[in-house]
Symmetry: C2
Subunit: 370 residues, 2 copies
């Protein structure tokens, strides 16, 4: 494990390590055993069709060689797999292959697989062990913190649990096969973690944007390490989202509305929240933050290749309605995560909805940086 | 609240009270408010068609008068409602009526409604508050301890969580409408709680069997109080079923097998475990316990009107296979909860399966007490 990075999510008796490094899948057997994953009971790797094609054999054979009994289950790629129907199917596979209370569920994939497999682990026999093996950049966010869920036809992520993994194993090599657009979308959350917590890291992203999008291993490893560190720090202080954890939603109020209005698919999640973060920065300046907050936010996101302008064909009324539906609205005012400087945010509970409407309109005119 | 009984389930920050008494539904509003159920967010009462007809209006109107916003959801009566399909439907109703993170889910009914509504509460928005309003005798068992679950086509109770209620509100009046067979089946778990924990209470059941089956209010109230107390004591010591909680399975290894082989329906759960407890008592005597263990167990169960003989048409091989499937088997030996005296049990991990087969055969010949 030369050159790998390691950090710890501090959560009392649920504390767990995150390992980040090139080729770490090869160490999976040893690390799983160290963290108490049982060799006596079968474990089940859940992955999606895209990831299965590229990385499943390697993980399954490493674990088998190490003495684990491996069951594999493949779901279709895409958000639609986060459903109760897939949950039921996966639990059927687990039962047919004799998984028991000592078994572990392993998520090999992006946030979709992580959220779905995590909820399987949370609910199968009222909770079994869980391991995250993220294969997207976005999953540096979703694999840390223990939020797991599936979707309901009426709302995303509404059926779920808090279920922390035993470990997170991040092999940078798996990211080499990720489509370029997914790379950039994932970097959006990396930048977000800087914007809410760490000005130096934002500066670093600004300086290293090219190497990042090129997936230069050491640069990428450092960025994921920093992103995970911020997420871990916030989650350690507020595991169940009572207060602080809300700051992780920077850019998400507008972002979620854009995803909903555009129809899931036109904008990737990371793209939508990139635009949302520019919106939050504009709002910040209107509320008195230094102009620099807006300029730096927009520049960094542009440099990693993310959109900063809101697609003009999306209807402003629809966007406002989607935000209201999101329940952050209360009688003309909204709860918003607003930057106060680069690397710092506050939770503002009384932003007027008419100001938000103005910002949304302006975001459609946003000049794109060359 | 004259003449009501109260006890506490000690679980650290998840500690909660159980109220048992005649007419307690009328106090629901006050007790809910005391336990922090919000009046600002809508709550949802989940019940089944049988219970809705008899008791839903009363609970809903008491709560409404007290200032709660009440949403109601009715599921078909019966075990089939413990499904992911019903879970999805109920969460749809919750979303359509604007339930949020501060909302509570209220289970008004027997164990089916409690288990299903409890899993809705555990998973909706990753967990909201939960209240148990049991209306069967069996539910003195299922409403205490926080085990909630739905079924998978391949296995019962396999998808679930540990999710403790904020309070349990037991109105003895609701039990007056319970069919007689359900009354007796529920008393089976009451007797079980005596057999594993409290010899005096077993004696008391023996002495009061007639008043119990006649639902004499004070007798019934005391029995449910004692039953809940034993369950609460065991759960307090072992919330997540690591060890001690297993003793609650007295009679259940054979009982579950009988339910499965007979086809759910022929034998009610309480009836099946009554036969199972007689089996465990016979086993106990074979393993050296005093003959009295068998005699008293059989006499008390008979007096409350429960079956003690295994229906002859159930195939012994099928029963043995069903037990093996239940995973308590290991290479010719089984884990069994075995009485050592009346009011005390041990977890025996090496009962030979051939001895169990003998007991099953004998249970078919069991003489029925007049
Ligand atoms: N639990 C949380 O805290 C949390 C946080 C943020 C997002 N999320 C969830 O995460 C999901 C989005 O995650 P995502 O962006 O990783 O989506 P994803 O899992 O759908 O992955 C994106 C695409 O990349 C493919 N892919 C994944 N890894 C690959 C690889 N190494 N090589 C080639 N292709 C690969 C996938 O098949 C998919 O087509 C959403 O459902 C969102 O709700 C959860
Ligand atoms: N969670 C636990 O710890 C636990 C423990 C034991 C059993 N259980 C579960 O409990 C379930 C069985 O519970 P149950 O026996 O209460 O079954 P149930 O909820 O199906 O109720 C039995 C029948 O009585 C009817 N009924 C309920 N209350 C009534 C009333 N007051 N008047 C008239 N009719 C009424 C119901 O409609 C149903 O037809 C099973 O699914 C079992 O798995 C759970
Ligand atoms: Zn996000
Ligand atoms: Zn039972």
């Amino acid at each position: 494990m030369s050159g790998h990075r390691e950090l710890t999510v501090e959560l009392g008796e649920r504390t767990y390590p995150i390992y980040i490094g090139e080729g770490l899948l090869d160490e999976a057997g040893k690390l799983f055993a160290q963290r108490g994953i049982s060799k006596k009971s079968p474990l089940m790797i859940v992955t999606d069709a895209n990831v299965a094609r590229r990385h499943l054999d390697r993980l399954a054979s490493v674990l088998t060689e190490e003495g684990f009994t491996v069951v594999t289950a493949i779901v279709p790629a895409g958000e639609n797999s986060k459903s109760l129907a897939e949950l039921e199917r996966l639990i059927g596979i687990a039962l047919e292959h004799g998984l028991d209370r000592k078994s572990a569920i392993v998520a090999l994939g992006g946030g979709v697989v992580g959220d779905l497999a995590g909820f399987v682990a949370a609910s199968f026999m009222r909770g079994v062990k869980f391991v995250q093996v993220p294969t997207t950049i976005l999953a540096h966010d979703s694999s840390v913190g223990g939020k797991v869920a599936v979707n309901h036809p009426l709302a995303k992520n509404i059926i779920g649990a808090f279920h922390q993994p035993e470990l997170v194993l991040y092999d940078l090599k798996t990211l080499q096969t990720l489509p370029e657009r997914e790379v950039k979308a994932g970097l959006s959350e990396v930048v977000k973690h800087g914007l809410i917590w760490d000005a130096d890291f934002v500066q670093w992203c600004d300086d290293n944007a090219e190497k990042l999008t090129a997936l230069e291993p050491d640069t990428l490893g450092y960025a994921l390490y920093k992103g995970c560190s911020v997420k871990a720090a916030v989650v350690s202080k507020d595991e169940r989202e009572n207060d602080l954890r809300a700051i992780l939603n920077l850019g998400h109020t507008i972002g979620h509305a854009l995803e909903a209005v555009a129809g899931y698919g036109e904008l990737l999640h990371g793209e939508a929240i990139s635009i949302g973060m520019v919106g939050a920065a504009k709002l910040a300046v209107r509320l008195g933050a230094p102009e620099e907050v807006y300029q730096v936010t927009k520049r960094v996101l542009s440099r990693v290749g993310l959109p900063v302008r809101l697609p003009e064909h999306l209807n402003t009324d629809d966007i406002m309605r989607a935000m209201m539906h999101d329940k952050k609205f209360q009688e003309g005012t909204m709860v918003f995560i607003v930057p106060t400087a680069i690397g710092a945010v506050e939770i503002n509970k009384s932003v007027s909805s008419s100001l938000i409407r103005e910002i949304v309109e302006q975001l459609k005119q946003e000049a794109v940086i060359g």
